[in-house]
Amino acid sequence: MNILTGNDLATGDVIWWTGEGWSRHVNDAVDVGDRGSEIAQVELAARHVNEAYVIDAAQTADGIRPTHIKERIRALGPTVRLDLSLKPADPTAGNWVI
């Protein structure tokens, strides 16, 4: 699947396109098919997102998992500071990245 990501213009947070807006949680992302750049242009113009781009991902039993490790780390947070990640209560969250 193709999902659309970028950073929130004001906060810099990693965000994912949900079909209606943006979420900080990759599991809220939707498959944008081949409409990614079209959506990105509209959202960039509206200043909802900064530096938006499309990435490959897969739907797994654990949710949506970006194909490349860099995007998985973006989705989770730094693997060396899981307390700052989106899964601070899960000590095994880093395994999801690797």
Partner: protein, 543 residues
């Protein structure tokens, strides 16, 4: 230490106001990201993997307690309660909000700090020796020249858009604690016929094409250094490869042109520059130098240290260096606790170090390129109190220059340029060698890790270097041996095929075993490698 005059403060304050306006225009849509990006980068604000990252300049690594407290305040108020000290003697914050950035810059300006020229193709923060002014073997204090170059290079209109970024280091001892010859320009202050001047090396660097800077001039009189550097930069600005980002650093120009021809052109330009009256008057040099006068040391102090506490004795043996004034010592504070993140410090730790600097070290401290902190003037009679305070704050690790004193870039955990993570590898290696006696048995062993070819973790200069690469979406780590960023500068050699994350930890251990089996009395790792060569290491690593 240097204090801003009205010109310094006015320039920094004006930049804060300018950036506040630019940020407001970006947030309101008057500026596109394409327009805004170069403006924010000129103020050290990057967009990294998880958020905006702000890189704050620490000129030649020197800070006052008040400035250090401000760094803690910024970590606490605007970030996630910590900062990361870098190999450029700067500090980075990883979780900055764009709307907060102008307020942060204003807070920095209130303590004579900024983030100007910490990005972009300009002259970056000048780096120097963390033992400046206190090393027994220095020919002169390198900080006055570093400060002069800071002023010369700040907002220099001709060098704001160089072909590529430009890094300068200044040292003044034969002992190189600043990786001087791995900079675009490295300066060693030397004495010739009782006159202080600069030996100038040009064209060093790490990155994808590591090079050791050749000597371009053996002596430039101190009061002509600005003209000489102006000439060096002018030749680079004229002929540097703007057509290819990967060939745009001055090291490529010097290499392709040849050091002799580069030197000839610089001399020609230098002769011209000297006619322009660019060099500062003696009074200005004296004004700057006066800021770096020695602090009011006490006299008649004892050099005795009570080492009856074994843990304290171990810390003194590792972290305390000789000071040129009797009764005083240099304290190295490790930011490398076993299993910790190299260079990271919490706001509480930053505050504590600032307190210690204020109380015990004439209100001054230094950031080292090895991502540690130095208190440069501690009375030996105060060492125990300093150590106790550091111990309580998890800052008392006794591992300076040992295998767990690892330089590591932020890597793929934070950096959008990285291909692999650096920090977890550093943590695993530190844990593997956590036994302090084992580390001491290995002796001086500088291990440096980069998460990509840009080499922010100085892997080329590691006695053991590790380079993280992306192999079809999987992290892989190349091993290098034999590098040094010190006065015996050399570039590490790649051993062969890379390893996975656990494999690289095993590989490091195997390399240390080869060293232990082959070293002669008193021989350091890098010396053994140079003597026996790569073959025994390859045999152990690959069979």
């Amino acid at each position: 230490m240097y204090r801003y005059d009205q010109y310094d403060q006015a320039m920094v304050d004006a930049r804060v106001a300018e950036f506040r306006d630019q940020t407001e225009r970006r947030l309101s849509g008057q500026l596109s990201e394409a327009q805004f990006r170069p403006l924010r980068l000129m103020n050290g604000l990057y967009l990294q993997l998880h958020a905006y990252m702000l890189r704050v300049a620490v000129p030649y690594g020197t800070l006052s307690g008040r400035q250090m407290h401000m760094l803690a305040h910024i970590a606490r108020k605007y970030d996630r309660d910590y900062g990361h000290f870098t190999t450029r003697q700067n500090i980075q914050y990883n979780w900055i909000k764009l709307a907060d950035a102008p307020d942060i810059l204003a807070d920095l300006a209130s303590v004579e700090m900024h983030a100007i020229q910490t990005s972009g193709n300009c002259i970056r923060n000048i780096s120097s020796d963390q033992y400046a002014g206190v090393a027994a073997d220095e020919v002169a204090d390198p900080r006055p020249l570093s400060e002069l170059l800071r002023q010369w290079s700040s907002f220099h209109p001709e060098f704001t858009y160089l072909p590529r970024k430009f890094k300068i280091a200044v040292i003044s001892s034969k002992t190189d604690r600043a990786a001087m010859r791995l900079h675009d320009i490295g300066i060693e202050l030397v004495k010739k016929d009782d006159e202080i001047g600069a030996k100038v090396f040009v064209g060093g660097g790490m990155g994808r094409t590591p090079m050791i800077a050749p000597e371009i001039r053996d002596f430039v009189p101190f009061n002509e250094v600005v003209s000489y550097l102006e000439a060096c930069l002018r030749v680079y600005n004229r002929y540097g490869r703007r057509d290819n980002k990967y060939k745009a650093r001055i090291k490529i120009l010097v290499h392709e042109m040849g050091a002799d021809e580069y030197r000839r052109q610089v001399e020609e330009e230098f002769a011209h520059m000297k006619t322009l009256g660019l060099d500062p008057p003696v009074a200005e040099l004296e004004r700057i130098a006066a800021h770096f006068a020695p602090p009011p040391y006490e006299t008649g102090l004892s050099d005795e240290i009570d080492l009856s506490d074994r843990d304290f004795a171990a810390w003194v043996g590792s972290q305390v260096a000789p000071h040129k004034v009797p009764g005083y010592a240099i304290v190295n504070i490790s930011l490398k606790p076993i299993g910790g993140i190299p260079g990271d410090a919490s706001s509480a730790q930053i505050d504590l170090i600032a307190d210690l600097a204020e109380k015990y070290s004439f209100d001054e401290l230094r950031v080292t390129h090895a991502q540690n902190i130095v208190l440069a003037h501690v009375k030996k009679s105060d060492l125990y109190a300093v150590w106790k305070a550091l111990e309580e704050a998890d800052l008392g690790t006794a591992n300076l220059d040992l295998i767990s004193d690892i330089i590591a870039c932020p890597g793929l955990d934070y950096c959008s340029l990285a291909n692999a993570r650096s920090i977890p590898v550093a943590q695993k290696i530190a844990k593997r060698f956590s036994d302090l006696d084992r580390q001491k048995e290995l002796g001086e062993l500088k291990l440096k890790i980069s998460g990509c070819i840009n080499a922010c973790g100085h892997h080329h200069a590691g006695n053991i270097g590790i380079l993280g690469v992306d192999r079809k979406g999987v992290e892989n780590y190349q091993l290098l041996l034999g590098g040094s960023g010190a006065e015996d500068v050399s570039l590490g050699q790649i051993t062969g095929p890379g390893f996975d994350e656990d494999g690289i930890v095993d590989a490091v251990e195997k390399a240390t075993n080869v060293y232990l089996a082959n070293r002669t009395e008193g021989e350091r790792f890098v010396e053994t490698f140079r003597r026996i060569g790569m073959a025994p290491f390859k045999e152990a690593l690959y069979g």
